[in-house]
């Protein structure tokens, strides 16, 4: 099962995780990562923008690559866009598999790609002004692990 969503409104991870788990009876394990807007006193809000014709298609292609590369029963990828406050979930990646290593590696793979190889642009509001966030060298190093 592949479930990929781009959401403009706040979400609770459980609303997607529970049906995803129930859709895979007989699974050996599920690995899930939930990323949230980090609390940082200086940051009032975070905004994620996307480009409709590329962003969701790219997430779908990423899910397909994870399904091909790892022995999975299913993958779930949910990403927020729009304006978010500290503590709100931004991203959820979950993989169900017969064996744990495939599930954990698929989530690691999906997160590295969502963070630096997906069509999202982020900006932070600090002291009332918006600032664009640039790519980080660390993210490219993470990505390079997957060849």
């Amino acid at each position: 099962m592949k479930d990929v969503r781009l959401l403009a409104e706040a979400f609770a991870p459980g609303q997607f995780l529970e049906p995803f788990a129930q859709a895979h009876p007989g699974l050996g394990g599920i690995c899930t990562f939930v990323g949230a807007v980090r609390a940082d006193e200086a940051v009032e809000a975070l905004e994620l923008s996307h480009y409709e014709p590329l962003t969701l298609a790219g997430m779908n292609a990423l899910a397909d690559r994870a399904l091909e590369r790892f022995e999975l029963m299913g993958i779930l990828i949910v990403h927020r866009v729009g304006e978010m406050r500290p503590g709100e979930p931004i991203v959820l990646a979950s993989a169900a598999a017969h064996h744990r290593r495939a599930a954990i590696e698929a989530v690691d793979f999906a997160m590295d790609h969502l963070k630096s190889d997906a069509w999202f642009w982020k900006r932070e509001k600090r002291a009332g002004a918006w600032h664009w966030i640039e790519p980080r060298a660390e993210d490219h190093a993470d990505l390079a692990r997957w060849g």
Binding site: G35, S49, Y51, P53, L54, A57, K115, S116, D117, A118, W119, F120, W121, K122, R123, W132, I133, E134, P135, R136, E138, D139
Partner: protein, 80 residues
């Protein structure tokens, strides 16, 4: 129908708007010319990509957009 330019990320700030319409046909030289110095320089930087109707060009200088096409200017995506 004109060509629709879509500016993403900080390019939208530089452009002053997320979208702009320009006359067709539109090639690379015409695009750089229509954008003005600051935006033209940003676009020429190797990290900015260009997509036509949702397909990223492998060589953006080979741009050739016609009536009704949507040309997106894509700065590097943000990290984690």
């Amino acid at each position: 129908m004109p060509v629709k330019l879509v500016f993403l990320g900080k390019l939208a700030d530089l452009a002053g708007a997320p979208e702009r319409e320009v006359e067709a046909p539109l090639d690379w030289q015409a695009l750089v010319g229509t954008l003005g110095a600051e935006l033209g320089d940003a676009l020429a930087g190797e990290k900015v990509k260009v997509a036509v109707n949702g397909a990223v060009l492998s060589d953006k200088t080979a741009l050739s957009a016609k009536d009704g096409d949507e040309v997106a200017l894509l700065p590097p995506v943000s990290g984690g």
